[in-house]
Amino acid sequence: MGLFSNEKKVDYDKIVDKMLPDAKKEMDESQYDTELGLNMARDARKVISGKLKIEDFHKVYSSSLTKEFGNYYASGDGPDIRKGDGPKWAMVIDLKKCVGCDTCTVSCKAENRTPPGISYNVVMESLEGEFPNIKAVNLPRPCMQCDKPACAQVCPTRATYKMENGIVAIDNDRCIGCRYCIVACPYGARSFDFGESYEQEMQGANDVTSPEYGVERGNREKGKTPIGTVRKCSFCFHRLQRGEEPACVETCIGDARFFGDLNDPNSVVSKLAASPRAFRLKEELGTHPNVIYLR
């Protein structure tokens, strides 16, 4: 913290800007239309940040592109955007491999910077049978990202909703904190953020937060969202966006967790989900979880 406190903050963006070539000069040198190129670059950034729909982008530029590139540009109505064709994320947990070390719980807390009292992932441990014929069962429990989520069903504000990629998301800026979803979740996967903090034990704990759902919220402060709302595992959506696996999958010491796309019949999770060892928790409730266990 103290490193830059006395001097002006170094503006790294400026340094990068200096390195960039001048777009106008480059375009002038090329044989193509400068203005069109600059406009397309500007709008392409909008598409990436979600402010402009890709269909609209194509609509705007289709005719001028055909003019500019003729036969080379022959996409017609724009790319084929099929709905529901993306991945559907799922997790498989092999109970035979789980040793109950709680690494997933800890790495999840570290990754998502969850406050005291909130663990998105827990390992439920139990002993079955009578001594000496006993068996230890370790049952890791993240959010099941149900296909028919009871939590989203009851949420009065649609703050909890199912995304197309299968993940059940919470819009913490909309949630009113009624906690109906916590009551309704059959897996105990949800927690209310009462506003507690590790600041007492660890200086600066509030300064580091995790960009849940890719939203960077800055320091954890009293009364600031997500405090007062409900939180849960998001399959580390922010990591998926970077092409990384959820933290619990990556750190599992027994390699008991698998992560992948259930829509792809050749993915590891699809194959494991079809195994006779596969089962889901509380299947009788009809929530259809996307976390699949191997017994």
């Binding site: 069903q153 009851v154 949420c155 904190g177 009624c178 105990g188 409730l285």
Partner: protein
């Protein structure tokens, strides 16, 4: 609020035309309520700064005292409204004396109930989201809408029920007359035609209100719980029905108690016949309620589902079981039923008052036992169990909210012709 009583007095002295005489007992009552409201108000403000950390709630037991009070007051409201329909729709004139009080109680109880919900939200400032982003599969979102429509309907109905009295009062020089002048039209009159019109509207609104109160407001509140398949003890089709019946029990008991207490304080004669028959009605509802509960517990127990058994055990055989056996069963059922049926007490107004008060308290116990035990038992046996008892702060906030409701009611009664004088009874509301 403290100044309000003073204000009223000043008004009466400065504008000597309006004469207000506040009885001594009324002043004591108002001051006591104001003190309770101010103390509670401190904790309400504090709660908005600390958030829900002020409570003993957790992610295992996410709902507690405030939700219990919320369903308690929704129940009182639905119950007293349904009682008023007995008069205005089904023409049971013997209960005429409590008719308008029943409607006004129903409104105030709804206000109190919604205030409890507001206290309970993690983000109270976003409460309108439930209306803006209405999720049609959420019973809670439906309820918020039903409550608002219901309050609107009650207000219109109360206005029509009071209309004749307002018109009459507008001609007098009292405080009520002053208020009446503000809320009636200049040319409002009473004649046979308006009587017929008012009567017709009372019937229409009451009739629309019945399904709204039964299915929408209270059955719907039961539905909030009944749809939760994660909690087997709530997840039965009987649950919303029990809600409605217990609403009738508590609503009748509350009105009975209020009627007797008010008459006693004002030293006016008590209509003993009506009291006895209302008490019979109340206990009748209570017995139906007990019967339904019996089946509910029996079938849950017979199902041998672990969570359901654990919930029943938490309710009936844990260290908190006193709230089931003593509050819900002994105070809320056994004693009042005995009082109403035992020859020596069945005609005694004081004993019946005690029975009514006990039933109201008993229903508070019922509401706590609905909310808390199913949320103490975790959804997986390996997860930690809940351990919930309200904090002092939760109690104080509750005191503040209830005091607010009683203040609204008391001032309403002071300013509006809610109570009927006996000579008006015969030609009103019929």
């Amino acid at each position: 609020m403290a100044n309000l009583a003073v204000d009223l007095k000043e008004k009466s002295t400065s504008k000597s035309k309006i004469n207000v005489t506040l009885s001594k007992s009324f002043k004591i009552w108002i001051s006591a309520l104001t003190i309770a409201f101010l103390i509670g108000g401190y904790f309400i403000v504090e709660r908005f700064f600390t958030g829900l950390a002020a409570t003993n709630l957790s992610s295992i037991t996410p709902w507690g005292a405030w939700i219990a009070f919320y369903i308690f007051f929704v129940g009182l409201s639905a119950g007293s409204f349904l009682l008023s329909t007995l008069i205005y729709v089904f023409g049971m004139e013997e209960y005429e004396r409590v008719g308008k009080a029943a409607l006004f109680t129903a409104i105030v109880c709804m206000i109190v109930a919604l205030t409890f919900v507001l206290m309970d939200l993690g983000r109270p400032e976003r409460m309108l989201n439930a209306i803006i982003y209405w999720n049609v599969t959420s019973p809670l979102a439906w309820e918020v809408h039903f409550y608002l429509v219901y309050i609107g309907l009650l207000t219109v109905e109360l206005y029509i029920a009071m209309r004749e009295d307002l018109v009459r009062a507008a001609k007098t020089n009292s405080l009520k007359g002053f208020v009446a002048k503000l809320i009636t039209f200049k040319n409002a009159t009473i004649n046979a035609a308006t009587k017929k019109r008012d009567h017709m509207w009372m019937k229409i609104l009451g009739t629309v209100g019945i399904p709204l109160a039964i299915l929408g407001v209270h059955g719907g509140t039961g539905t909030i719980f009944a749809v939760v398949k994660a909690r087997p003890a709530w997840h039965t089709a009987l649950f919303p029905i029990i809600f409605v019946v217990s609403a009738m029990v508590s609503g009748t008991a509350l009105l009975l108690a209020m009627y007797i207490i008010k008459k006693k304080v004002q030293k006016q004669p008590i209509d003993q016949g009506m009291v006895v028959s209302l008490a019979k009605l109340m206990v009748g509802f209570l017995i139906i309620d007990l019967g339904l509960q019996f089946y509910e517990y029996l079938i849950g127990w017979y199902g041998l589902e672990t969570e359901h058994l654990d919930t029943l055990a938490t309710m009936m055989a844990s260290e908190k079981a006193w709230s089931f056996w003593i509050v819900q069963m002994l105070m809320g059922a056994v004693i009042p039923i005995t009082i109403v049926f035992w020859k020596k007490t069945s005609q005694n107004v004081n004993a019946l008052l005690a029975a009514a008060v006990l039933i109201v308290i008993g229903i508070i116990g019922v509401r706590f036992n609905i909310v808390v035990p199913p949320l103490v038992v975790p959804v997986f046996h390996e997860l930690p169990w809940g351990n919930y008892a309200p904090t002092i702060k939760e109690w104080m906030v509750s005191v503040g909210v209830v005091a607010m409701g009683l203040l609204i009611y008391s001032f309403g009664e002071l300013l509006l012709p809610i109570e009927e004088t006996s000579d008006e009874v015969s030609h009103n509301g019929k």
